[in-house]
Each structure stands twice: as C-alpha cells, then as structure tokens.
Amino acid sequence: MSITCEQCLAILDTPEEMVGEEAAMLMRAHLEACPSCSRAAERLEQRLRAFRTAPPPEPPPAALQRLLARVEADRAENAPIETARAGALRLGADVESASSPRAASRHGLRPWTLSRIFTPFFGSAKWWAPAIAAICLVVWLGVPAGGLRPKGGESSFDLLDVDLQAVLVRSNDASGGTEILPVFEGTHVLPGDGLIFRFVIEGGVHLMLIERDPNHDFRVIYQWTNLGTEQGVSRELEIADQDGGVLRYVPDGPPGEYTYIAVLAPVVLSTEAGQLDAIWGRYVETELSPLAEPAHSDFAIDSIRIRYLPDGRPERDDRDGGGMRGEYETP
C-alpha cells in the first residue's frame, strides 16, 4: 500500500503524537522514495528543531525583583493572604460582622466600600454619599452557553437564596468609607461560560451590575437607568418593557470565582453639591433560570451617560415619586 504526496504531506503536517503507527510507516516509505516530500520533511524538521533549541532571551532579573516588591506592597496594603482562602461570605452570615471591613478582611475579602465601587463612576463622594439606602440584590446565574465550550459540568452555579430584603447601607461618614454588605459567595466560572441575569423591576431605578473577578478586582459590567417611563433604553438588556429584562453576559477574565452583585441605586442627577434628589428603584422579583436559548452573542458593555439639563438643575418628575428626570442615553 502506498500513499500520494498529498497524503504524505497531510501526515507530515500532523503533530507527531497524533500520527498512528500505520500512517507513520506509510509516510516513511513515501519519503524514502520521494525526494520532494523528503526535502519538505527535512526542512520542516529543521525549522522545528531550530525553534526548540533556540535559546530565547531571559527576562532581566530586575523585573523579578520589582514584581516581588510590588506583591509585598500589595500584601501590606490589602487583606492578609493567609486568611484569604476561599473566603466566601454567605447570606446567613452575621450581618453586622460581615458588614465590617475588618470582618471582611478576616474572610480574606477586601471590603466592598461605596467609595471603592461608586467613586470611579460617579466621581467624588459627595455625589453618592447620600445614597443611604441602596438596595443591594445579589443575582447570579451561570449557564454554559451552548456552542462556546464543551459542557463538562466543570462550572457550578449556585442560586443564592435571594430573600435579601433591602440591605441598608449606612450613611457615609467623613472618611468616605461606608461599606456595602458583602453578600456574595464564590461561583466558579470558566472562560466561555455565559451568565444570564433576569431582572424584573418596578419603578424608576438605576441598575448597576458589578463583577468581582477571581483577582478581587471590581468593575461595573453593566448599567441601566430606567425612569419608569421609558422603554427600550438598553440594547444589552433585552427589555420586554420597562419592567426589566434579560441580560446575557460572558465573563472574559481568568477562570475562577466570580461574584456578581446587582445594585438598584438611586440616581443622583443634581450637579450641585449638597443637592440630592434620587430616583428610587423598587425590587420586585428576581428570577433566575437556565438559559433557554443557547445562542450566544457578544454584548458590548456600554455605560449609561447621564446628561444634565442646560441650567444644571434637572427638572422634577413627580410621577416617579419625587425623583428626578434628566436626559440620558446609552452610548
């Protein structure tokens, strides 16, 4: 039995460990008789050998020292690593102790402070500080999105008991360090896993979905402002009407434990310091369900941009219970 040049090259292109003994034998026989294929094989082998044996440059030792110094500084600044092993807080944990930054550190978690989360998005503390009673609602659901990766049961998605009530966030103090109750627990997410967040919301609300990745970095992955009178203001959230919708999201960080917290927060529209008006959202129901449609789409994460009215003072809209109405858009 013999093979053609085309078949020989096909075998040649296959990594060695994946070539069966019979195919290898046929290829060797062909190479012995075919100078052209033999030359191709020799050149390929020469290039592979060169690649394997070329001594690559080593990183400068100073880079290692800088890294170790940076890690040491980070350790000193943040929670001791020795207490950080899988430090998941659960809803059943003692609320008072869990809401303490020190307690959070004992659990290996950096505290979820309002300043830590909100300041990058809303500016200085004066804009969010009066958001005394943000309603924190943990919602999460993970479903391996069909077609993205093999379903091997490697990810676990635990539906929390979402009977959260409203979690009171204490008023801000002079240090600007009011913490949000760190209600979360680890959910192991692998790259490509799709998450579904389904919101049912009544009334005007500013929704923020915050992700805490395996490296304990926080970021707002989604924001949506619903004033209770508008429809279809979000492209990402598939909104049936103004009462909520479904958000599909695929984490793009490293494998590991992700935590999501949905914050239904008042929106501060005033541009004047000390003047605070808010639109209050009221949580009605959170429904988490498996992804019914396995199709996957990439959803860009846009932010809500809030424009202020020309005179800097948003007009009142009493239909929302005393909240404010301003211009807003999803860029």
């Binding site: 040049c5 080593e58 990183p59 290692l64």
Partner: protein
C-alpha cells in the same frame, strides 16, 4: 521538591517564600511564551509582571483542580491576547521580527561554541524564517504552537489554556506545521516516483 500546588497552598497560608519560589520557577518559561507570542521584549516583560501579580491576587481563591502551569499560562495568555487585540485595534502591532521594538536581538543568541560560522548563519536564517511564519499565524495558533513545541504542554492542557477544544488545538498545530513547510512547498516539484501519481 515541593510541587506547584503545594507552593500555592502554602502561599494561601501566608508562606511568602513559597510564592517567590513559584515565581522563580515559572518566571523564565512564562516570559519565553509571552516573548514569542507578542514579539516584543518590553511588552512581554510588562505582561509577565502583570501575570504574576494576578497570580498573587488569585492565590486567595486558587483551588488545585488542575495543573498549576495550565492555570498560570491561561492568565498569561489572556493578558497577552488583550494586549495584542488592543495593539491591533490601534494599529500599533509590530511584527514579530528578529529585532524587537527596543532594538534587542530577538530569540537567537548564536553563542553556541559547537556551531561553525556557516552553521550559525544557517541557524539564524532558519530562525528568521520561523519567526516570520509564526508571525503570520493567528494568535491562537501561534500560542498553541509555542506551548506545544517550546513548553511541551500536552494538547489537552493547551486547550485549557486557550479555552478551546482539544480538537481545535490539534487543528492549530497542524495549520502551523503546514505553514512551516508551506514556504518550501511553493517550490515542490512534481513527484518523480509512482507515488506521486495521485497528487
């Protein structure tokens, strides 16, 4: 010698020296992977540092579910791809070339005393060809090739690093090998043997 996973668990328990040991163990391999993936010394060094810093941050939640090297290379790969995408988006991606952006020689040091001068020249030319070919590959294909032939990771582990199916890794490797011999296949002469009849 303590295993990687032992060292990570020790670091979770506060053993700082364990992290340093682990870092020193993988500092070179991860750099080589990144250097060949992004094609630039300075960028590779920056990603390298970020990778190990992320490792430090991730130590708290690390669980020894698989090979540590897979976990680490996955972080490095993820960061490198981010950088490559951003560079490509901004149109600043520089090709993998014998001389990097910083002017330092890429990959090849021809100091091996056993090589004759003509052999050194041939080796250098070969590596330049290899670099050029690898540069032309998609990022995932190049990453798979480096992990397979340089770090000698099995395809299953590479699949985990790249977050693709093992069959995809095999396809990437096949494509890379095809590319490596494609340049010479342009001059492939008609086979003079009866075996070439079906070609």
């Amino acid at each position: 010698m303590r295993t990687d996973q032992d060292l990570m668990m020790a670091y979770q328990d506060g053993d700082v020296a364990a992290f340093e040991t682990l870092t020193r163990r993988y500092w070179g391999p991860v750099y080589r992977f990144l250097r060949r993936l992004v094609g630039n010394d300075a960028v590779a060094e920056e990603i390298l540092s970020e990778t190990f810093f992320k490792l430090h941050r991730a130590a708290a939640t690390y669980q020894p579910r698989g090979r540590f090297s897979t976990f680490l290379f996955a972080i490095a790969h993820h960061k490198a791809i981010d950088v490559l995408r951003e560079a490509r988006r901004q149109g600043t991606r520089e090709p993998l070339s014998p001389t990097g952006r910083d002017g330092r020689s890429h990959t090849i040091t021809l100091e091996s005393p056993e090589l004759r001068p003509d052999a050194k020249y041939e080796f250098k030319e070969t590596m330049q060809n290899v670099d050029r070919i690898l540069e032309s590959l998609p990022d995932a294909h190049r990453a798979a090739f480096i992990l397979y032939y340089q770090e000698e990771l099995p395809t299953k582990e590479i699949a985990r690093v790249l977050d693709v199916k093992p069959s995809s890794v095999r396809a990437y490797l096949t494509h890379a090998r095809t590319a490596l011999r494609a340049e010479i296949s342009n001059t492939h002469e008609p086979c003079a043997t009866p075996y070439g009849a079906g070609r």
